[in-house]
Amino acid sequence: MVALGYKRTLCFVVLGVSTVFALNGCSISDSAGSISDSGGSIAKSSESISNSSTSSKNDANSSTDSKDSRYENEVKDFTVTYLRTNSSHTDQNSFMKGISDVASQNGIVDWEANPKTYRGIGKGLKRAKVSGSQYQVYKKKFADNDRSKMDDIQEGYEN
């Protein structure tokens, strides 16, 4: 912390140096120097060469249960943010493409056959505080009127 105090006094020196460098106090997003996407190249890998623990989405070491709950939670998060940013005009195609992205990152191809998808949507609807008739409309829309999928959404909504 002493070092920080020392640096504080050199605040304007640093600013000057940074300006002269024509560089900036911000990280630059590029393929080598940033981790701005989740591609698997080494520069972007979240795993160190000698450390086998990993936190990447396709983490092959975590348990099957935790992967499943992670998927459900990611669907929930996607649903919440989607509803908050598209409250006036939800487009079914764009919603389904978003779910496809989440499923792909979790290694799931046929997400429509996975009950976790609909439980995640139900949790998202609850989290976004959607209720009453509006909830019923969304439930039917996202489940495409399929009884079993609607039950899964309901289960996620109630738990």
């Binding site: 640093v14 140096v17 997003s29 190249s41 520069a43 092959a60 005009h89 493409k97 290694g107 191809v109």
Partner: protein, 607 residues
């Protein structure tokens, strides 16, 4: 009574408090030379980065962030824990997430407009009989996901010779017959041909006027074309391309009778998926169909040969590590390879031991096999695509080879003009909103603005105080303000990789010997020259008194690189001279006792 209530409230607030982190990353050579800042909420780290003269919000997993800054960029992280109520934490977290998602949607809209233009230009060329050329860099993004599993990109000649040939003619024929029979039984004899005709007509009719910002014309076109091609795969009984799959030549990868029985059961699940995808309303069912069919085929191949065959899910964008770099980390890489082999064995035994969650376990095995396969390939190619496997195979193919439209040239030209106007407007809006400015709109000011927005003007009540972004635009100054203003309950430093390793060495060895050995790039056991770093001789981050002297030598080294860069300018496009000049500028502050350079590492490696 009031005191009791106050006590209860205080108790409640203390039991329902959470912390989030404000992170200051120290300065170094290269990007963010003046340092950097970020906010951590749970496992997510949010920070603003400079991108094409604009400032953008990024979200990363906390471990990936640490690897990038602490290990690769070798910078120390200073972390302040800020305490807020449970509700405030959720509100802040949601706000950051929503802002990130909003930005992603806006960028997606912008990208979609650019893709629309590219597609319309390509369709116009195709319609007017001109050769369809690569029109812009974004053209490469108009890709058909999964199509590369069955179609080779013969038009562009981009396909490379497979490292391992994979002939699936027999298993493809077997699966194709099964799927077609199943479709006939469920949906009638002409289902496939009728669906293909209907999709072709839909594709011909598609017009930009019918799409919206959420689901663009190019997205709709790409999805429909992918659906059509996936069905044609079935109609033509196509086998996988020869580089779409591989077999792992290990005895542990052989299948016994029980494993074959399990694999057959999984095939039945996949066949049910094929059936439901055919009538699915999800717009990208073509991609799902490609992957499902391909998996059915490789599983059939595995059953027929009694040896596991897998789809290649390598990310082609992954940058291979060249042989000379691999040699620098030989010991660590050998350990990693052995670890990957063990993980592959474990994934195989997990699959056969526990039939529940079969699909999950199969995907895990596929990932592990792909990871191990890269080690085998590296023996032949002398380069390694390190951990380049993906959760699902992408196998993208440019769509320009399969163009089809019923729109006239006039209609296409008009649509193109409208798209250009819309695109220009959106780019201008984006630029007005997010233009970077060194002092008034940088990664620090943007982060404080976001924090202030997230607490809805109640900074004092929620965070303990207000930080004005206009007055706090330098990373380390911002960290100081956070410590003084917000409810900071704890601060700590996560030392940079080199610093951390030096501490371990000082514990094990004689201090003066470690210092002498590690002080310079020639004898350092921790540092191998990273081509992205400018030339330098001495590390000055841990040498305060000798810093000006070391700085003078470093300046000389970087100057030499610039002079040599002048000579190599015609051959490297000025790359060396730029790095050398950056090195001079990074070394000069050392003359005044100020350290910026830390030395960076090209690969995430820990000793």
């Amino acid at each position: 009574m009031k005191a009791v209530l106050l006590g209860l409230l205080l108790f409640a607030s203390s039991t329902h408090a959470k912390v989030f982190q404000f992170i200051y990353i120290e300065a170094s050579e290269g990007n963010s030379s003046g340092g950097h800042v970020a906010v951590q909420l749970g496992d997510d780290v949010y920070h603003y980065q400079y991108q094409n003269a604009l400032i953008r919000l990024f979200k990363h997993n906390v471990d990936a962030f640490r690897v990038n800054y602490q290990l690769l960029q070798n910078r120390s992280l200073h972390i302040a824990d800020i305490e807020v109520s449970d509700t405030a934490y959720d509100d802040i977290s949601n706000h950051f997430n929503v802002r990130f998602f909003e930005q992603r949607q806006k960028l997606k809209q912008l990208q979609a407009l650019q893709h629309d233009q590219t597609l319309l230009q390509a369709l116009l060329q195709w319609k007017t009989g001109k050769p369809v050329t690569s029109l812009s860099a974004s053209e490469t993004s108009l890709l058909l996901r999964g199509a590369g599993l069955f179609y080779s990109d013969s038009a562009s000649g981009a396909i490379k010779k497979p490292t391992v040939e994979c002939d699936t003619t027999n298993s493809s024929a077997e699966i194709n017959a099964k799927v077609r029979q199943q479709l006939e039984n469920s949906y009638g004899k002409n289902f496939l041909s009728q669906k293909i005709t209907s999709l072709s007509q839909e594709l011909s009719r598609l017009s930009p006027a019918e799409n919206n910002a959420s689901y663009s014309f190019s997205e709709h076109y790409t999805d429909t074309l992918n659906d059509l091609l996936a069905l044609q795969t079935l109609q033509k009984a196509q086998a996988l391309t020869s580089n779409a799959c591989f077999q792992v030549p290990l005895p542990e990868m052989r299948l016994n009778d029980a494993e074959i029985k399990q694999a057959r059961a999984f095939q039945q699940d996949l066949l049910r998926s094929v059936q439901s995808l055919m009538v699915s309303k999800r717009p990208d069912w073509g991609y799902a169909l490609f992957v499902t069919l391909a998996r059915l085929i490789v599983i059939e191949q595995s059953i027929q040969t009694r040896q596991w065959t897998f789809l290649d899910d390598t990310d082609e964008k992954a940058i291979p590590i060249p042989d000379e770099q691999l040699a620098l980390y030989a010991e660590q890489l050998l350990k990693q390879r052995l670890g990957d082999l063990q993980r592959l064995h474990k994934a195989a035994s997990d699959l056969s031991d526990a039939p529940s969650y079969y699909e999950r376990r199969y995907v895990n095995l596929e990932i592990m096999a792909n990871r191990y396969q890269q080690w085998l390939i590296s023996e032949k190619t002398s380069e390694l695509r390190y951990q380049s496997e993906q959760a699902l195979p992408e196998a993208p193919l440019p769509l320009t080879r399969f163009l089809l439209t019923g729109l006239s040239a006039g209609q296409l030209e008009q649509a193109l003009r409208l798209q250009e106007i819309a695109s220009d407007r959106l780019i201008k809006e984006d630029s007005d909103r997010n233009a970077y400015h060194l002092l008034t709109k940088n990664c620090v000011t943007a982060l404080f603005e976001l924090i202030n927005e997230a607490v809805y003007g109640q900074s004092k009540q929620i965070l303990g105080g207000f930080i004005d972004p206009k007055l706090n635009f330098i990373p380390f100054q911002a960290f100081g303000s956070v410590r003084e203003t917000y409810n900071v309950v704890k601060t700590r430093e996560v030392p940079a990789y080199r610093k951390q390793e030096l501490t371990k060495m000082y514990d094990r060895e004689v201090d003066s010997w470690v210092y002498a050995r590690e002080s310079n790039v020639f004898s350092s056991s921790l540092y191998n020259h990273n081509p992205d770093d400018a030339w330098f001789v001495f590390f000055t981050d841990d040498a305060v008194l000798l810093r000006p002297l070391f700085g003078a030598i470093n300046t000389l080294a970087a100057t030499s690189q610039s002079v040599l860069g002048l000579l190599s300018w015609p051959f490297d496009n000025g790359k060396e001279i730029k790095i050398g000049a950056r090195g001079v500028l990074t070394s000069l502050p050392e003359l005044a006792f100020f350290n910026i350079r830390k030395g960076s590492y090209p690969y995430p490696i820990e000793h």
